[in-house]
Symmetry: C2
Subunit: 346 residues, 2 copies
């Protein structure tokens, strides 16, 4: 059986983790949870296992250097430079066109945290099995709370190693999210996919022919430079960008999902990072990074790249000092950080 | 009638306003409430009014330069350099020995805020009247809340322009503070006094003869240098320091008080500063100084000397960025700021 081809997507601006995440050095490339960055974790998650081929990374030119540095000595890794940010469907299609028609691609965001790599790999093997049968497969992440910030997958009839997807559900309100959690039939759509490359391109051509054509032109006019591939900019820039969910997954008759529990978090904001770091907390639930003095605090995340943070009497607050900026947010307020002037006007 | 001699005391470390207040530049010399510092306000409060003589300032050598700078062109002002910090009684005795025996001295801390200068001056005139009759007079500040952080003065029989003091009350518990507030017979002891210089020294000699003797030796061995006077260090350093309340006020049979409502605050911590700045607050009760972006905040005091502060979702919190330190404290926690490692280990 041929190896699975990891395709690691490095899009997204990560403004909700401002001021640590910046345009020039966004979330995937920061050592948020440990000394390793989320991108390095995404690479390592499928490294040293011959069921997986070397990764193909799709990213903007601005991040090529940091990616090469963080890839380290990953032999055979390839970097595809997106000429423009056009959301996930064109990025995935670029990778699909550069892979053999029969290659199974495993599409992974680079900015998610997955605590249980073994569970991830097991789900990837199951998803690859369905992809080889020309299913378009999404990882269905077991919800552990009534989250209103994610899309959901409703499972349908059982398949080998997974389920057909009965429906894609947009971000629900709290009442529906509670129902979904209780039913056990709904999973979070975590943006991790398995496709046979040729099948994905056929589905894209059927559903978004203009996009498929422009991606094909961009690859045909592209330039190879060692481990880097530069698709042609002009056709790519003309693409009407879209997510793979909207462009293909919600259109196809062959959508499937593989259920997985793997300690997943998209680290979508400072509160989510605090949750992911709970294992490092002191007895009062405080997590500290750098020079920090806390008194009478609980549930505080305090991270600094230099200046000391001193705090008294706070509960469930995140204090982030980075690059000359000081952010203080409640956990509940963390969703709004990306709309702050500092995050918007970088 | 001779003029009243303001004596402005510049002791105190002000660690509870760390990190803005530092040993090298403590609270009196900072522009906390406006462009003017508390010290400048203390000087200006009695300037340009011929009922008041030029001020005599008592301070440590470390702050002589900032005092001269902030005194500006105050003609006739004098600076007495304390050889050591020995609390208020020796500092006041130094000033008393340098003034004529019949001079009425008005002793004022330099680190308090007084919103109503006219009320202050009227109380000073009343207090001076009692001081000329050889009362030792304390300003009795009308309480507006059941404060447990101050000492109280219980008023006794009426005198011309004030009252005898029936008793001095140590910091009460909340139950007693509520009773004091309701009774109307109790005032805060704000540390503002009027004495006839010779009478104060006689009372000090009677109650603390060793202290009086050492201060007298220090003045006798002192050195005049233009507008500065340097008392001799050796005798002064041998003094067993004490507050004027313990050394004299609570011992004398002639303690009096002058009631006053003048918008007084000792700016004792960041919460008190936030209260004193309430007039500058936005509609949600937030006060900002420097580069600050607030979202979904109320009752927040945010002050920075450079780096931007961004905050989301906070209520009744003080965020202070100063000299490379970041402090975040609830209003309730503000009393504990002085015990933080950063404040203690300056």
């Amino acid at each position: 059986m041929t190896a699975i081809h990891p395709v690691i997507l490095c899009g997204g601006s990560g403004t909700r983790l401002w001021p640590m995440s910046r345009k020039a050095m966004p979330k995937p490339f920061l050592p948020l949870l440990s000394d390793e960055t989320l991108f390095e974790q995404a690479v390592r998650r499928v490294a040293g296992d011959d069921r997986f081929a070397p990764p193909m990374v799709v990213a903007g030119a601005a991040h090529a250097d940091v990616i090469m540095a963080q890839l380290g000595d990953a032999p055979g890794a390839q970097l595809v430079i997106e000429p423009a940010a056009k959301n996930t469907a064109p990025a995935i299609a670029l990778a699909a066109m550069l892979l053999p028609d029969d290659a199974v691609m495993l599409v992974c965001p680079s900015d998610h945290h997955i605590a249980d790599s073994a569970a991830f790999r097991a789900a990837a093997i199951a998803a690859a099995g369905l992809a080889r049968q020309d299913y378009l497969v999404s990882f269905g992440i077991a919800p552990d709370r009534p989250e209103t910030g994610y899309g959901y997958l409703q499972r349908g009839e059982p398949l080998a190693g997974g389920y057909a997807i009965r429906s894609f559900v947009e971000k629900p309100d709290m009442e529906r999210a509670v129902t979904y959690l209780a039913s056990g039939d709904y999973s979070w759509n975590g943006g991790i996919f398995a496709f046979r490359a040729g099948h994905l391109l056929a589905e894209l051509a059927a559903n978004r022919p203009a996009m498929a054509d422009l991606v094909a032109q961009s690859v045909a006019g592209g330039r190879d430079d060692g481990a880097r591939f530069y698709p042609a900019a002009e056709p790519f820039s003309a693409i009407d960008g879209d997510s793979i969910d909207y462009a293909v997954m919600e259109k196809t008759a062959r959508a499937a999902m593989v259920p997985v529990e793997m300690g997943w978090s998209d680290i979508g904001n400072w509160a989510a990072l605090a949750d992911a770091l709970a294992g490092d907390a002191d007895g009062a639930g405080n997590v500290q990074r750098g020079a920090v003095d806390l008194a009478q605090c609980s549930g505080v995340l305090a991270m600094t790249d230099g200046p000391r943070i001193s705090a008294v009497g706070l509960s469930d607050v995140c204090i982030i000092v980075s690059g000359g900026e000081v952010l203080v947010t409640t956990r509940d307020g963390a969703q709004a950080v990306g709309k702050l002037p500092g995050a918007v006007n970088q």
